[in-house]
């Protein structure tokens, strides 16, 4: 009995140490919770900001855009759809500036005249290939050549990666050639 009492006494801790431990554990939990909350808050805030930005881009291309919203001149980021719209606008603007009517007038203003049938001298140019109608896109062919190649790392989950590598390791162990 005395041994037991001695043993208990030897391993028992002072009350202040117990309190310190409890406070320590409490603080640890508190700090951990705070860190988790802070990270969560940070991530969700950033996700919400990006989400908002995406929504604003979507609004500008398909929703109702307010008059006070920032414009490209204010340095806002542009969505792919907005860029496509800008490209379409520029292409059309360029076509207006190079329309037949405009080009004819420009040519006349700088002194060009339409050539007559009897004013042309024809010479043979070996290897000359007459102009062919425009090709705006490649002809249809094997799809694999032009298929977008996205690395697996951007598509697969951790579990899929583990499963894939495990099965590959098993295959190697079994002596199956990849």
């Amino acid at each position: 009995m005395e041994h037991v009492q001695n043993l208990t006494q030897a391993y028992s801790q002072a009350p202040w140490r117990k309190q310190l431990q409890i406070i320590g554990v409490f603080l640890l939990v508190l700090v951990t919770a705070w860190m988790v909350a802070a990270i969560y808050l940070d991530v969700t805030a950033r996700a919400a900001t990006i989400g908002r930005e995406i929504q604003e881009m979507q609004v500008r291309t398909s929703g109702l855009d307010r008059i006070e919203s920032p414009t490209p001149k204010d340095g806002r980021r542009l969505s792919i759809e907005e860029l496509e719209q800008i490209n379409a606008n520029l292409q059309t603007k360029l076509a207006f500036m190079t329309s037949d009517e405009v080009m004819q007038k420009r040519a006349q203003d700088i002194g060009f005249k339409a050539v007559g049938v009897d004013q042309i001298l024809y010479v043979e140019v070996p290897g000359y290939i007459p102009p062919q109608p425009v090709t705006l896109a490649p002809p249809p062919g094997p799809t694999s050549a032009n298929a977008p190649m996205l690395a697996l790392a951007y598509k697969e989950s951790l579990i899929e990666w583990l499963r894939e590598n495990t099965s590959r390791a098993v295959d190697l162990l079994k002596g199956i050639q990849p």
């Binding site: 969700t44 996700a47 919400a48 900001t49 990006i50 989400g51 908002r52 995406i54 929504q55 979507q58 609004v59 500008r60 291309t61 398909s62 929703g63 109702l64 855009d65 307010r66 008059i67 006070e68 414009t71 759809e81 496509e84 719209q85 800008i86 379409a88 606008n89 292409q91 059309t92 360029l94 076509a95 207006f96 190079t98 329309s99 037949d100 009517e101 004819q104 339409a114 050539v115 007559g116 049938v117 009897d118 042309i120 024809y122 043979e124 007459p130 102009p131 109608p133 425009v134 090709t135 705006l136 896109a137 490649p138 002809p139 249809p140 032009n146």
Partner: protein, 593 residues
Amino acid sequence: MKLEFSWRYTAMGLAFASAAVVILVQITRLLLSPEAEKLRTASTYYARELHIYSPARGDIYDRWGYLLAGNQTVYEVGVDLNSIQSPETIAFAMSKVLLGHEEYNTPDYYNSVFTIASTETSTVTYRILADYVTEDEVAILRKWSQEYTDLYRNHKKGDKVPSLQGLVFRSHLARSYPEKELASNILGFINRQGIGYGVEQYFNNLMAGETKAIWMPTDPNKAEELPHVPEGDSLILTIDREIQASVEKILDNSINETGAESGTIVVMDPKTGEILAMASTPRIDLNQYWKYGTILQGKTPYNRAISEDYEPGSVYKVLTMAAALDSGAVKLDTTFTDTGVFEIGGIFIHNWNWGAWGIQDMQGCMQHSLNVCLAWVGSQLGAKRFYSYMQNFGIGHLTGIDMAGEVPGRLKTPGDTDWYESDLGTNSFGQGVAVTPVQMAMAVSAVANDGKMMVPHILHAYVDKGYQYNILPQVIGKPISAKTAHDLTQLLAASLEEESSNALVPGYKVAGKTGTAEIPTPTGYTSDVTNASFVGWGPVDDPRFLVYVWLEKPTTSPWGSVVAAPVFQKVVERLVVLMDIPPDDVRHQLNKQ
């Protein structure tokens, strides 16, 4: 000591617990209150926002890649009734900025905007004020809004100050035509009711993507990906912008010079059926297509080349002669004694000058455009063979050209209630049969192209999902043999040369035929106004173009040889330059090398 203060801890504990209970009770009460239900309902209303995704309509290019129809961003301008501060300012700004739009440049527009902007908010919070507002106009509205904000920044909250707050914009793409009037009869348009003309209408399903309207969440944490809205297919047409512009200019000048009511010119590659140019009057600036009602008044067709049939007159003799030579009913050296009159089915056929031309071979008949001779040729052919050939030439049927609004014309055939034996005689020289210019161009292309008749088409290729699909030329039939085609071509080329036609182009051998047709009216054929036509192709040994000209009711002269043949000549003079076709002797020399 401990006991003395322990009640304070207990009291504090009870106070905090009571406060917590009160808060919980209040939260529960609020959550279950009828007002909470209203708020929840209202929140669902604001939780999503309507987005309308309109895919870009496919572009249209000419054969060299010049943009003929593209897209430009425009805006629908509306008001958010909840945010409006000054309806007067909005009405003022809108009526001033949109002065360039006919539909908004009205005395009532200010009042109508003011009324809308002053509306009390109900379930409807968004109202449209204008559409198709340009980017520049929106930029002006934004600038004014910023200036108002800066100017009245220091005013007290609640003061009535000018403001454009509440104006909202929704961008979308609208059709834009950089070449304005050029090729407008070919391109066509689709109005806001979905009714259209030309290529725009014919290929509407291909070019227009599917508009999607989706309610997107307003919660940024639930931001969703944009739906995939594939763009419409782009088209590459067979027309050449420069040839089209030249042909339109020649046509307009010819109409002015001849006093014609209207005109049409079709330029086609007889070997492929590709339409290189198609000009028709009147034309409209497609950027203001809504004015077409004032320009194309009454029954004026949008594109005469495909939508208006007429009695072609002597150009039709090409088909009669082709059928007769091909069937063996006549030969090149067959002679006919023209007495100036030919009876068929109880009616008497006369020549254009009421004269008798004596003994003529087939070239003479064509060269002098003798109605009497051709009526006789028709009778030698017989009704059965004649109409069988005409049907093989596609007369009375749609050509299948890829443009909206084509009409089939009319070919009466034996068995029809309104067909008489005399029709064989009149049809043989192009009277009593209704054709469109494109129909005639297609039929005559068989003579220019070794007997093979090609489907006329305007689409060279289309671009779908990143790939270009080229359209292959299609043979629609072979109504005559290659030999007949060659013989007739030579005959017509010699005819032009011997009569020193106004259609001849120095250095180039061309074949062709004039046409002068009286115009049928309910009381018979008029003699004072005519339809003047010309069909020709060249160079005869390697045809690169076929040109069909039609001038309606010319006043300076009724004859096709006087008014339509020179138009053909002018067109060919431009074509050989623009298509890099050397004179025949140069070409033969180059081919030998």
